[in-house]
Symmetry: C2
Subunit: 378 residues, 2 copies
């Protein structure tokens, strides 16, 4: 039986995540992987979770297992509102911050509409944008827009970007806000790593600079545990209201027990205690990674110096092709993600993304050594 | 600031769920509500959940909190495959069976494409279909199709339908399958209530009759707890593969701890033990509801006699308008959902859906008495 005739016109634009495809092919534990965006499992507050799970079932009983409000359970919305200093009606809980990206695209974008992004940018966002046949254009390049189409929103990850690790300065944020106001588009500020700062000073969020036209996406994946698939959105009520209606038909409501647990974790101070430990651990890992790159990488290779987050970005000399190099690296036992996957146009084939949160120090050293050898052998 | 210009062309077709809007307006615990589709909280296996939650954290540790496969954790897919007698590659876990409906529409339907449904049908499905601007047509009426458009799929709830409570006979299922094969469309078989049968004999699933063109949607909401927001899809691998790619950008993967808990609950036999208790409880409630309707409803009112599920459907004499009657019912302290909301064309304003799973026997009696008075006063 042939199935192609049943698919919608969007389907040919679906992109398979090369990261997720790598995970299907290889046993991660058998190689040195800098490919994923996995937090270090040592940061997962298992004891807190055990305790909180029992507490929440005791405190809320059946309510923690029943259907709940589409906007999220009030307790979680309130804790988030308090933490980030916004009214509770500006908070919508999402079933993962990936859903936040997807629902923004669904609610704002028709095929051919323009989304501005930085280049490189988050692969999962590109997957979503392309799946709705958006016209993705690079911020700041002044690329011509398709005729009769408007920019619907600009998507940025201002803090410790995935994949580059870089942080937008206050001036860059203000410039983007001015541009958004002048050209009248929205800003989707994806902020999963913001709380993971290891050095330098926090920069104000774009949401704080332009609350009237920004949707800020937060995530529990890097400050609690990714397995909970919980995130949040801060934004103007007029926008959140349509997102709320859309979310009714997407999944009715986010998981309830998980939301109560996240609320308890964040509200009780356990999150902040755990976050301090995570930051200390990741700071050490980032520093280790930077010194290993110094030690092993050949002349001509350069990399970013992130102040936080989980990733840094490597530039190899012109002529290198990290997509072509990939199978050799895998055979040697080391994995990365080719940088070109993060460029809307697939360019920059001499770059790669390296994650520094997942491997422990000794495996990190063995992996970087191997990777340097693969690059040297080219 | 005006926001309308930012919305996609789909947004004007978004429908607010009248059920969810009711829940925002009234305090459910203060009235007699037959409106929701809430399971009886007494069926929630709180003790099992407490035990299993600790067990799963002990057994899987950090793995239960990390990112996982987009198809779902292997343990849960295997338990479901075993229970329903299908190969594991035909199983995709969904973040709620509502997501199953939505992702089918996303992957199969372009604006103007035809979806066949029964009338009445599940409101959350209509919300999703309309949000993608599908042309919804009623099965069996021979309504003319839009020019140059094909039927992409037929959506049915063959067992104890929401809202009618009715079950398709084997002959009706075979006839639908024959029609789907002849006219070459898919069937989406939504099956959240199938395991809740209180009398009569099970009828084979449509998926078992036409596995090559059916996507079967299962749900943990009525056999475990709705708060987990977990469901599954059974279907041809060629279709599941595109749904898998779509799901990468929807939410990466379903909640992990929740999936391990559901796998343990289903795989250990705890689900079947709990199901027997739920069935016994709901059988009593259904019987009570039917006898209360006999006792209190005026001449000329008729209703369905479901063999399972959570709902039955009331027909009032011509001239009654349950939408208009609704505010009076609420003031009197009783809630239902007007039946016309379940009709794609909004017709049948003399019908209403009543849930019999949520209220206990004495509240059920008080509620039906009140409802009969409201109808009598008309």
């Amino acid at each position: 039986m042939k199935y192609d005739k049943f698919f919608s016109a969007d389907v040919p634009s679906f992109m398979r995540s090369p990261v997720r495809e790598i995970f299907k092919k290889v046993d991660l534990s058998a190689i040195y992987s800098f490919a994923g965006g996995y937090p270090d499992a040592a940061t997962f507050p298992i004891e807190d979770i055990r305790r909180i799970s029992a507490q929440v079932l005791e405190k809320y009983g059946a309510k923690a297992l029943q259907y709940g409000a589409t906007q999220g359970v009030p307790e979680l919305r309130e804790v988030i509102a308090r933490r980030y200093g916004v009214p509770v009606e500006n908070v919508q809980i999402t079933t993962s911050s990936q859903q936040g990206i997807d629902v923004c695209t669904r609610v704002f974008v028709d095929p051919g509409d323009v989304i501005l992004t930085t280049a490189p940018t988050y692969l999962g966002a590109l997957q979503s944008f392309k799946s709705y046949r958006a016209a993705v254009r690079t911020l700041g390049t002044g690329d011509a827009l398709p005729p009769d189409r408007r920019i619907k929103f600009c998507y940025v990850i201002p803090d410790f970007q995935n994949p580059s690790g870089e942080t937008m300065t206050l001036e860059e944020r203000k410039k983007l806000v001015a541009m958004a106001r002048e050209q009248d588009f929205l800003i989707v500020e994806d902020s999963p790593y913001r709380e993971l700062r290891y050095s330098g000073e926090p920069v104000p969020t774009i949401y704080s600079l332009a609350p009237e036209r920004t949707i800020h996406l937060g995530s529990f994946s890097k400050i609690f545990a990714p397995g909970f698939r919980l995130g949040w959105m801060l934004g103007p009520v007029e926008l959140l209201d349509q997102i709320y209606v859309c979310k009714q038909s997407l999944d009715l409501c986010p998981p309830i027990l998980d939301q109560y647990m996240a609320a308890e974790f964040m509200g009780s101070g356990a999150l902040d205690a755990n976050l301090q430990k995570s930051i200390a651990l990741y700071r050490t890992k980032r520093d280790k990674m930077l010194s290993l790159l110094e030690q092993y990488m050949p002349q001509g290779v350069s990399w970013t110096h992130p102040e936080g987050g989980l990733f840094l970005f490597l530039n190899l000399p012109d002529g290198f092709d990290t997509v072509a190099l990939y199978d050799r690296a895998l055979s040697a036992g080391v994995a990365y993600v080719a940088g070109s996957f993060f460029y809307p146009d697939g360019s920059h084939r001499n770059t790669m993304r390296l994650n520094f949160s997942f491997l422990d120090a000794s495996r990190m050293e063995a992996g970087i050594k191997l990777l340097a050898e693969v690059i040297n052998q080219k």
